[in-house]
Symmetry: C2
Subunit: 394 residues, 2 copies
């Protein structure tokens, strides 16, 4: 109980799990700048710039683009509480834990939820979406996860968004593990509400949920029949705080905004397209290395996320031992399987500043050694050669 | 649009408004420590210590004591969504903007809200509470603001809690502007749900909402008939994350928790009782100084908060000019009036590390000068003498 009198030392670890991801010292130092008032003009200028930078990563001109004062799950809840009224019928797709979570959240908003599900490790089939919409012409919106963090599946959205908009419905997209690491073309595809989290490819500490809303969805929200069930996440008020009016709603998490601002500046400096190429190239190098170690990936190549890779655990290997030894001996964090995949896969994130050659090489060396100790024969030379071959490509 | 290429410099300001309050460099530096995973054992140890320290400031043994991943308003919403089911009748008191907000939030949870209101600047009358309960014997809980941030009124709670518990109801208390700066005796008075914010007397950056829940309220929440309407704030899941089980719910705002932990350590070092005495002494010094300047306080002495003081603006003085000059010439932030008190009062916070002699003397000097310039005669010598007299007392 008296432990708070001991000095605290937070050890530095290599975060290669599903998030949080490594946070650059520039961002950490920005968070330690002096706290300003939430209505202070200097802070308001930082908010304005942060909003502009968020528009850049969301590739949107949406006026309503903000960072909600909560984590990615608060972003999901923001989408649901603002877009759903009690009794509405909605279609929510699931191809993993986070799609299933969205079905739960939508249900708590009083929606009648029509589920379109795919097995974990596969994307949702656009044909299933088409059939669900045909069977439920009164459905108002479709919600879907772009980058399923529980499996590493990238959900193609081009065809689905055109089906959804063809039916006059709204399209809600979970971009928690894609934003800032791969293409999330909000305006090009016309998504109506997209949310993310600060601690994935944006590579900031967890605690903020970037959200962008199309003008059509803003009109809808402003003209809802019923009050939004969450006061805290009510976008009709929050848009007045982030907008010109600076209407007091709640006290923004000032220092977290400093951190997000700095992280977004780093993305602007790198260039969004360069960042996508870096994530993709490093993911391919990791995949090549893992396969050269004799491991099998959960997701077929066409649907793999550049940010997060799921690896099947070979017969006879205890994944808890693998993760434990990675942490104990190398201070490397990776993720375990969730839901039906618990014990069957490990998840490796290469996001933000964590997506680099050093981490790939370190991780494969450590993993290969641990697997060998457990009797799974690996050849590290071949694995490293496979990595370098990908990274040496033009 | 290219402004993110310019180096940012966050200026240091003296935060003497209603919050955020000055944040000590120790806390800011703690926030810049390396980000850990939200299930990492070293982070879990920091969470455990933070929970113990929160119990210390809440003066409670409540098992369910956590920091919610949002600001103080998320704390208010946590109390409402967990304790209220649709159709419940609840009594919510208001003696200012935050009580009125609680009425709004409770209504959004589907409650039938019985209002017990008092004029801004006065506390709620226990007689009114008694009458409301007698008229509504089916009411399930009473919600009330302990420290009304919009007025600076301290609401006495001893009599009200005994009426509420006598009727078998739950008692929900908003301690946003009291926790850590004055007595909030959770266990002694048996409050069932108390929430606060990190950026007031706890003197950390905004972004976390400490919450504590009595065993009786936990039993109620576990046995509710309906699902909690907010997934993000669902305490039945959050208690499993903060508890032994470490069940994954959402990704905690890791670096914010570092900051809160450090702020709570500073409170443990100072001692809770010493901190209360410091806040009270400095508030009395400020009051003496303000009155010596010829100003009138909004709240009568028996009901004044030690953390926040509301001052009436003299006839002929433009409060926006006063606040503007304090910021422009002295980098001092104070608060304006809210709601019906807009333009009629200014609010001065002395909270956490901001509650000190230096800030009092600086503020009175600056204010006196600005008022004199506007034709309101002040005598700074008398004011400073009054301050020093209070501070020199045993």
């Amino acid at each position: 109980m008296e432990s708070w009198n001991k000095a605290r030392k937070v050890p530095e670890k290599t975060l290669l799990g599903p998030g949080p991801t490594p946070v650059d010292g520039r961002i950490l130092r920005a968070m330690a700048e002096p706290t300003l008032g939430h209505l202070d003009r200097d802070f308001v200028a930082i908010m304005d710039e942060t909003r502009d930078l968020l528009r850049m990563v969301f590739q949107t001109k949406n006026d309503l683009t903000v960072a909600m004062s909560g984590t990615g799950s608060a972003g999901m809840e923001t989408a649901c509480v603002n877009m759903i009224e009690r009794g509405d019928k909605v279609i929510i797709c699931s191809h993993g834990v986070f799609g299933t979570r969205m079905q739960d959240v939508a249900g708590r908003c009083g929606a009648e939820v029509v589920e379109v599900n795919a097995p974990m490790g596969r994307p949702v089939d656009p044909g299933d979406v088409r059939r669900a919409i045909a069977a439920n012409p009164d459905a108002k919106l479709l919600g879907i996860v772009h980058a399923e963090t529980s499996t590493g599946v990238l959900q193609p959205l081009d065809e689905i968004v055109s089906i959804v908009h063809g039916a006059g419905m709204f399209m809600v997209v979970d971009a928690v593990t894609s934003l800032g690491g791969m293409d999330v073309p909000v305006d090009r595809l016309g998504f109506d509400m997209v949310y993310s989290g600060s601690q994935k490819c944006l590579a900031c500490p967890p605690g903020l949920a970037p959200v962008t809303v199309s003008p059509r969805a803003v009109e809808y929200i402003k003209n809802r029949k019923s009050k939004i069930q969450s006061w805290y996440l009510d976008l009709t008020m929050i848009m007045r705080y982030w907008g010109q009016e600076r209407f007091y709603h709640h006290t923004a998490p000032v220092n977290m905004i400093y951190g997000l601002n700095e992280g977004l500046r780093m993305i602007a400096e790198e260039g969004l397209e360069n960042r996508f190429v870096r994530h993709r190239r490093n993911a391919e190098a990791l995949w090549a290395g893992l396969e050269a170690l004799g491991l099998e990936l959960l997701v077929e190549k066409a649907f793999r996320l550049p940010s997060l890779t799921s690896v099947k655990i070979p017969e006879g290997i205890d994944e808890a031992v693998v993760r434990g030894r990675l942490m104990d001996e190398y201070s490397i964090e990776i993720g375990s399987g969730l839901g039906d995949l618990k014990g069957k896969i490990i998840r490796i994130g290469l996001m933000g500043s964590g997506s680099n050659r050093k981490n790939i090489v370190l991780f494969l060396s450590a993993l290969g050694r641990i697997l060998s100790d457990q009797g799974f024969r690996t050849d590290l030379d071949t694995a490293q050669e496979a990595v370098h071959k990908v990274l040496a490509r033009d």
